[in-house]
Structure formats: C-alpha cells, structure tokens
Symmetry: C2
Subunit: 264 residues, 2 copies
C-alpha cells in the first residue's frame, strides 16, 4: 500500500490506526490527522497503576490524562472505540527494570495480564492550531519531524516510585507572535496547555539548546524566542527511572491517534 | 471557646481545621474562610483506590481532584500541609457495605492501614465568587446552609465497581445574571466549573425541585432561573452504591478547608 503525506494529513484517525495494525505505516505522527487529538501511551503492571495515575493527576501539565483503561483492557473505549492499543501504534518500546530491552510494532505477545494503559496528551495536538493560525513550525521548515525535548531542573510532584524532572519541548516562535501561541495553547490543557517558560532556557536549567535529550536541535531564526511547553515524555522519563519489572511505551514521536476532535 | 460568624468568614483555613481538631466547631462550612478552596473527602481501602481515581478522572465536573494521598498517609501535603484528615473535619460518616453505620468527629480509631484519601472540589469554593460579584445566594437569604442536591438521569462514566448517576446542586440565579454565573464558575474547574444545565430540571430528569435528595429545597424568586452544577456528592453516591467493605466521607456540607487560595 502506498500512502502520500497529503492524504495522511487529512486521514481519519481510524485509517492511521488500521495502517499501523497491518504494519503498513511506520512514521512519526507529527502533522497527521489534523484536527484530532494525539496521545502518548504508557502501559504498566496493575500494581503500579494507582501510583502512576496519582503522578499524572499531580503533574497535569506534563501528563494530561486522556484515558486510563481498566486492567487488561486493550480498547480505549472513551477516546478510540474499536481500536486496540497493542497493535494500533507504529512502534513500541519495552523497558524492563528501567532498561530499554526491545522495540516492537505489535505487542500482543508482550503485554501481561492486567496491565493498565494510560493515554496522555501530546503537543502534536496543538501544533495543528499553531499551523492554522499561520505560526511557523520551525522544526517542519527545517525538515525535522518533532520538536526537540530537554530535561529541566524542575522536579515533578512525586507519587510512590514515580519521581523525576519535568521534560519540555521547545519551539521557536517569532517574538511578536508569542502571545498568540500562549493563547492558542492555554485553551488546550489536554495537550499540555500554555507554555511553562518563555525566552529563558537558563530558568529551566537548560544550558545548551543545541543538544536536546531527545529529538534533533531546531534553530531559532532572527527574532524568534524559545518557547517551552511541558512534554509527555516526562512520563517515559519517570517510568524508566522507576525501574518497574516491565513497562511499555510508544516510541517517541510515533503517537496513538484518538478519535477526539480538537475543539478550538 | 466562642466563635462568631464574622470571624469564621475571614478565618484562616488552619484556624478552622484546628477548631475541628479540638471539636470546638461543629458547623456547615458554607461561607467560611472566604477565598480558600474547600473539599469533599472520600477515604477508601487501597484495593479500591485505582478504580475510584479512574472514576474521578473520567468524571471531572463532578469529581475534580484536588489531592490524592499515598496509602496510609493522613496529611494532604499539597493542599494543606500540617493538617490531619482524620481529625480536621467537623463530621465524618462511615459506610460499611454501602450502609451508613456510624458518624464521628474524629476517625483516628476508625481508619485502617493503607486507606487512601481523596480531596475533591466543592461548590462552596465558587459561592464566594458569586457573592463577591453581587449575585444573590438564595439559600443563605432563605436561612438554608447549603444548596439543594438532586440525583439526575445522567450516568457517570463507570470505572470498575464505581458507577451511578450524576448528582447536581441547584442555585436560583436572576435570569439577566446567569451569564455572569457561567463565566465566573467556568474559570474554576477545580470547583465543578460551569453549570451543566440551565433552566430545565426536566432535561436532567428532576421532576420536583421541592424535594431534593440531600439538603433543603430553596425557592426561586420572580425572574430566577434554576442553574445546575455538577456536585461532589456524586462521589459519595457512587461509593455508597459500590458497597465497599469500608468507606469514610465528610458529612454533607461539613467540608475540609484547604490552604489553596481561590484564584479569581
């Protein structure tokens, strides 16, 4: 099956999920399915689910909760009925005792009974809104799929074994349009909401924008300001540090596409 | 110790909690500690905590989460550091297998190891804002402590054993000021947010405003419209229906007063 970018941009979420299910698509979902909410996936053993849910509730900017499944339920009935979280993402990563041990494109044979799935908001959701408002998406202009991510000096509010620093994304925004970017994203707490810091990497303990912890560096153009949003990779970061027996996440940038429309 | 209403209205949350701790105050907290967030309390066995937290996340208008403690931790460190949830409310109710079995003003001998405490938002928080804007608080004018509560025909999104109908409060608002009431409360999702229905009890399956399920009926004056907000008693309603071995809640209207300021 051949798929072109234009059709992916306007594709229905179900189409993308079905392509992933048959391994017919293996790409970053930035820019796909415009108008629909995208999600980070975290799967954990039931015994760790309460503390992790508490962690998400306490750190809503980084980990906005879209849906939490019942133990052993693979269909997110509220956000994408009919889908299967074990097959409908392009790439998965498996962490055992904190170490990345495997990558898969189907985890039906990997999940264990009673695992709980968390779908958490993603900034890909609001990039559509910035784009529609005519704001430049510098990483796309520079041929880079996703915004660069940095580990900050800010501690999340801990819950049980889950603790660690806040991770942020950075997007260069022309200084005279930062207000628009704030207003557009503030209306979307389900996609990390408003920026948590504007213009000063130092304030977050970020010493070198040229070396993100994940993703590729994106250059600021003349007149751009670095704008930082809380990032769902915070979840992966603290889950990994918790050294659980087993945890499964999406691969960075290869998000789950829900049926929830972005309400602008 | 004597306490007058004027001093209670402007009292610090800590003062009210200390009065409760020494059983020096036994009153509904409506109107107390203006400017501070008040909370519903639900305490459950650890085994039920994940499903109940999932219930709250899925039903945020009724059950806005202010804090969830770690199992067996009685101090809500984020919302009222230094307090003790076992003593700092005026009245508690204990439900065993769904039946109200006891009322207490101190539950240090009642809680069991590993119980989890949930603090959920309360509309007493936003009544201050309505009052400050000059909107009439009809129940207070009519000598009634709290707004009347009704069980609706709307089902909450279930989670495990937790399922049931949405409970709402009703406040009569002059028709030309309903917009203000919507705008003021919409800015406070931590206190149930905007009304879920305006002007039509029938739409919620409420056939007789004269007979609330909890509290006393409040009369509409000429030109008033009945305005309905999601209510934290929804939590008590579904917890009771779940017939847990043991659950503890505040008594209706006798809320926990947090140190969180109401940001208007």
């Amino acid at each position: 099956m051949t798929v072109d970018m234009d059709s992916l941009t306007t594709a229905a979420p179900r189409t993308i999920r079905e392509l992933n299910r048959t391994n017919g698509l293996d790409r970053n979902t930035s820019g796909l399915c415009r108008g629909f909410v995208q999600a980070n996936l975290v799967m954990l053993p039931e015994a760790d689910a309460f503390d992790f849910l508490r962690f998400c509730v306490q750190n809503p900017a980084a980990c906005p909760i879209l849906e939490v499944t019942a133990p052993g339920q693979w269909e997110p009935v509220l956000t994408a009925p009919g889908s299967d979280l074990r097959t409908d993402l392009a790439r998965y990563e498996v962490y055992r005792h904190g170490e990345l041990t495997e990558c898969h494109n189907d985890i039906r044979d990997v999940v264990t009974d009673g695992m709980v799935s968390f779908l958490l908001g993603c900034s890909y959701t609001f990039e559509h809104l910035l784009f529609d408002a005519g704001l430049p998406i510098r990483q796309h202009e520079q041929g880079i799929a996703g915004a660069p991510m940095y580990i900050t000096n800010r501690s999340c509010v801990p819950a049980g074994r889950f603790r660690g620093e806040l991770v942020v994304t950075m997007r260069p925004i022309p200084s005279e349009r930062v207000t628009e970017a704030v207003q557009l994203t503030a209306a979307h707490p389900e996609a990390h909401g408003a920026p948590i810091c504007i213009g000063s990497p130092d304030a977050l303990g970020i010493t070198d924008l040229g070396h993100p912890a994940w993703g590729e560096a994106v250059a600021l153009e003349d007149g751009d300001v670095a704008v930082f949003w809380a990032c769902g990779v915070t979840a992966t970061h603290v889950v990994r540090a918790a050294e659980l027996e087993c945890a499964i996440t999406h691969s960075s940038g290869f998000m789950f596409v829900t049926d929830l429309p972005v309400i602008s």
